[in-house]
Structure formats: C-alpha cells, structure tokens
C-alpha cells in the first residue's frame, strides 16, 4: 500500500503531460483517456522496475507505446476513422475550436491571436504522428534530445532529423495557412 501512495504522488502530477501526448497521437479525447488510464495501470504494475530514474520520461514511454498499439489496432480495424479524428486531423474548424476551448489558458495565450492557435493546431494535426510526438516532447515537455530518444526508442540523430523536418513542415504549413487566412480576411 505504501507503493500505491508513492506511485500516486509521483505519477499523477504528470497526468496532463500524459494526456496531452496521448491526445496528440490519437486525436480522439475518449481514446486518449482510455490510453492514459491503461498506461497508468501498466506503470503501476511495473513500478518496482523503476529504480532511481526519473518517472516522467518512463511514464511517457509507456503512454506512447500504448498509443501506438492503439493506432496499429485502428489501422488493422480497417478504414474506420471516427468523426472526431477526421475533424481533428486535417481541417475542421469545429475540432480546432473545441481544442482551443480546452487548451490550457495562460497569460501569453491571451496575447496571441486566437487564429494563430487555430492554425497551429491544424498544422500539428497535419503532421504524421512520428513528427507530432517529437514536437510535443521537445517544445511542450522540454525533454533533452537524449530523453526524447529514449522515449521514442530511436537514436539521438533520428530525433534531431525528425525535429528538423517537423519544424520545417510546421513552418511551411503555417505560412500556407496564414496566407490563406490573409486572403480570406481581404
């Protein structure tokens, strides 16, 4: 029972990080919730294996694996794409607005124009999962390249090149979307 209390104290503070990663990968809230719940159970069962390491990257590794298994099952399940996912994926203002409504508010958030958020969400959704995860892990969770490499189970060099490609994709997507929006505004 002592383990249980320790686990909850150490692991539950990272629930938002876990959920954010799961949602970035799965793009469906209900699926992300299930994945996080499942990940915590797995983590709790394997908790004794964690020795002296930091819990957050370890936990997010489990979350990522659970999510990838889920994505695989989805692919095996055929071309069944839920409405949420198709909206969240490429374009769909409703999904973006929904996401905006639940995004964590911060002082800076108010300063930045809402449309930029929407464009950003759309651009991230358009990235392949392998790019999405490195962006989240680096930009939001601020892991080092070494830690990201451990989480995604790839060499540091791969992390660097994926991040580089993900950022240039984001750049061009942002440019494209912003131009489109400017045209619409005129």
């Amino acid at each position: 029972m002592d383990d249980r209390a320790t686990f909850e104290r150490l692991a539950l503070v990272h629930m938002d990080a876990a959920f954010n990663l799961a949602f970035a990968l799965l793009r469906v809230r209900a699926d992300a919730e299930d994945a996080v719940q499942n990940s915590y159970l797995r983590a709790y069962r394997a908790f004794h294996q964690l020795q002296g390491e930091s819990i957050k990257p370890w936990l997010l590794t489990i979350v990522r694996n659970v999510c990838y298994r889920h994505l695989q099952e989805r692919r095996r399940g055929g071309n069944v794409i839920s409405l949420d996912e198709s909206l969240g994926g490429r374009s769909g203002l409703a999904a973006i607005e929904a996401e905006l409504a639940i995004a964590q508010p911060s002082p800076e958030a108010a300063a930045i124009h809402a449309s930029e958020h929407a464009i950003l969400s759309e651009a991230i959704g358009a990235l392949p999962p392998a790019f999405r995860e490195v962006i989240i892990l680096r930009e939001i969770e601020e892991f080092s390249y070494r830690e990201v490499a451990d989480i995604i189970g790839a060499p540091v060099g791969t992390v660097m090149s994926r991040l580089s490609r993900a950022r240039s994709e984001l750049r061009s997507l942002m440019m494209k979307r912003m131009n489109r929006d400017d045209k619409n505004a005129m």
Partner: protein, 260 residues
Amino acid sequence: MQCDRVQELLGAYRDGELSADERRAVLAHLDQCKACSALMATDDRIGQALKARGRTTAPPALAQRIRAELDRHDNRQLTTTATNRFMSGDSPFRVRHFAQRAAVLLAVSLLSAITTWQVLETRATNSHLERDIVSAHIRTLLQDTPVQIASSDQHTVQPWFAGRLDFAPQVRDLATAGFPLVGGRLDYVADRRVGTLVYKRRLHLINVFMWPEPSMADSTANATLRNGFNLLSWNRNGVAYRAVSDLNLDEMLRLSRELW
C-alpha cells in the same frame, strides 16, 4: 558553413544541443545570413506559440478513473495472494494433498445426500398429492353433487372460476367426444386451492384438478394407479392437470388428449 547545413542544425542550435564548435559556426552564419535568421525567427515564434497554447488538459475525472483502476488491481492482487497462500504457501505437500482429497470426498457425499433427499422428498410429495387427489375424488362420489356450478356450457363454467382462482383454467365441453361436462367446483389439494372440472363418461365420474405450476415444462400424460383409481398427470402452458376416475385407462387417456 552553407545555408542548408545551418538549416539542418538550426533546431539543435535553438534547443542547445550543439557542440561548442558547431554553435559558434551557426551563430557566425546567422549574423550575416538574413534568410537563415528569418527561419530562426519563425521557429522561435512557432515555439512560443506552441508553449502558449500549452497542453490539452485531461478531464478532472480521469484521475478518479485511474485511482479506481488501481483499486481494482490492488483488490485482485490481494485476492490472488490470499488464495495462493491458502493453497500452497506454508502447508507441506502431504497435508495439502490430504486436504484436497477430503474436500472432494466431502463435496461428493454432500451432493449424494442432497440428491437422495430430493428424490425421497419428491416421492413423498407426489405420494401426498396422489392421496389428496384420490381422497378428493372419493369425497365427490359420496356427496349429492360433485359440482358447485352445474352446467355443460363452458361459457358458464369458465367465468364462474374468475375471481375464485388466481389463474384462468381452460374449460371445454367434450360432449361430442363422449365426455359431457357436468360442471366445476373449487377444491383443496396439496395445500392449495385448485380448480376442478367434472366430466362424465357413461356412469363414471371424472375429476380434473388444475392449478398453476409456471416452472413446469409441458409434458404428456403420465398414468399411475392408486386404490384402484386411474390417475393421470400432465402439464400444459404452466398449468398442472390431474385427472382421476375409476374409468379404464384407455378412455382416460382419450380424455387427456381431448383436454391437451
């Protein structure tokens, strides 16, 4: 350093993941290349926007769900350990073996005892029932009239039962088959109130007792002989039927088929 090489390293530069030499080289290039510094500025802006956007937060209920899941896991764990300890833990093999055999033996004896008891009980119940039915039949023979409602019309007899019984018995006049309906009455058999139809065959009187028995499956007539009377029992549509008479068995069976 060339622009394309700088652009490759730009992210790592921003993330502070370059060696000192590489960092100096990139910095020197950025100082004089407008295109690359513009890219860098865009990346900075995207980075800031991402941070400002923050995480998509989990619903508060998720923590509860996780705790409940861990509770379930803890409980399962507790049960398994307890069972394991009981089954294998400290008891030496011989003792465990003996205990298992004893348990099996006990279970078998118990089962056997229950079955025997059930068989005897069923027989006793059937026997009581048969005695009740035959007694009721004999009483009707001793009385002036065997019926409370005398009518050969099923549409008179059936409504008469309504309100007197907790089920609606099927009433049929079988005069065309040679079993004219005398009427109906209430009786008390096997600790319950039952509906009774009385039929005639020549000078023989036939009592048909009916009561609801919803748990019984439909069954065809089963004949027994008691005190010289033929007794038929069958179930249909959740109603138990018992027909009793001194009439010969063949004609009794014909009546039961007519009533089925």
